[in-house]
Amino acid sequence: MTDAFEPEIVAFCCHYCAYTAADMAGSKRISYPPNVKIIRVPCTGKVDAIHIMRAFEKGADGVYVAGCLEGDCHFKTGNIRAAHRVRRVQALLEEIGMEGGRVEMITMSAGMGERFAQTAREFTEKIRALGPSPIRDAIRQSGRRAAG
């Protein structure tokens, strides 16, 4: 192994909590791994199963959905719906022989800058331990085949 594996992680972050928490982490200079690419959503309820699947299809090694604490969703039950969808994607990934643990639902409040950074670190480490997504490799190889 020459290059150490650097996981690519997509985090769907709710505008009202996780995204604000990420902001706070930034302004307080609490560092978190650059592996995490944040996508801001108006509510995690807006994140559909297919969005998560597409992230994997495009080569993400891990995806998490970060929403408000239970009971605090700005739209009442968006975070609960998101949790259901995450479970559904976990099952679907398992069905095609990938680790369900590559996707996770996380909750926090807007004031939790430290928690944001910490979960970003932990999730990155978890995915690092799982290794690269088989899809990422497959994309690279099929690209090579296409080029060759």
Partner: protein, 222 residues
């Protein structure tokens, strides 16, 4: 509506893996309402299959299409321009939709991606239950609006049997005893006496037992 559940990805993969180009066809009616074969589910299945085959080093060409109604030849006709580009069709509609495609495109293999389950109603978000078996001679008018054929485990016409316990069916404590429901409803309607009217042996000819059924409406058929 007609309800269904998706087949395991494993079974679906086994059907489509010999092919390179798949036309994945959903339906916007019943199976869309019960979240198994509408546009969203088509996208998800397509994505999962893509990833599965990518892992095997194969780029599966999957074209997604969701028709207004797959059991209607008029809509199924819309697929005509895509058939040449497909080796096989994978349908997420109920069995009626799958067969409408098979009848129209005789030279293309078509596979069901769902198991068509029953005619049912939505009990609450995410829960559907069987309500009708299409017996062709509806008795709901006599049984207080509860179907003994679809909802009694023994389709008894003169229930309840001796196994009815605390309102539940003998086969499962989570299943309502249809005849308890019928009785409760007849009482609510003040029609208790009716429970003693014998329902005569049913004429199953109007059901599947009379052979496959057809409806022809002279005023509409040309």
């Amino acid at each position: 509506m007609i309800t269904a559940v998706r087949k395991s990805i494993e079974e679906i993969i086994a059907c489509v893996s010999p092919y390179d180009r798949i036309l994945l066809v959903g339906c916007n009616e019943c199976v869309s309402v019960c979240s198994v074969g509408g546009r969203k589910e088509v996208a998800l299945l397509s994505s999962a299959l893509h990833m599965h085959f990518l892992k095997q080093g194969k780029t599966m060409d999957i074209r997604e299409m969701t028709l207004e109604r797959q059991c209607d030849p008029e809509y199924v006709e819309e697929l005509v321009n895509y058939m040449d580009g497909a080796d096989a069709v994978l349908s997420m509609a109920c069995g009626c939709g799958v067969q409408t495609i098979a009848a129209r495109y005789r030279e293309k293999p078509v596979f069901p991606a769902v198991n068509t389950t029953f005619m049912g109603a939505s009990e609450r978000q995410g829960v559907w239950s069987e309500r009708c078996q299409g017996c062709g001679d509806c008795v709901l008018g006599i049984t207080g609006g509860i179907c003994p054929i679809a909802r009694c485990s023994k389709r008894l016409m003169n229930g309840p049997c001796g196994g009815s316990t605390k309102g539940k069916c003998e086969i499962d404590a989570n299943i309502d005893c249809a005849w308890q429901l019928i009785w409760d409803r007849l009482k609510a309607l003040g029609l208790e006496k009716r429970i003693e009217d014998i329902m005569e042996a049913k004429d199953w000819r109007t059901s599947r037992d009379g052979g496959p059924r057809t409806i022809t409406r002279e005023d509409l058929a040309s």
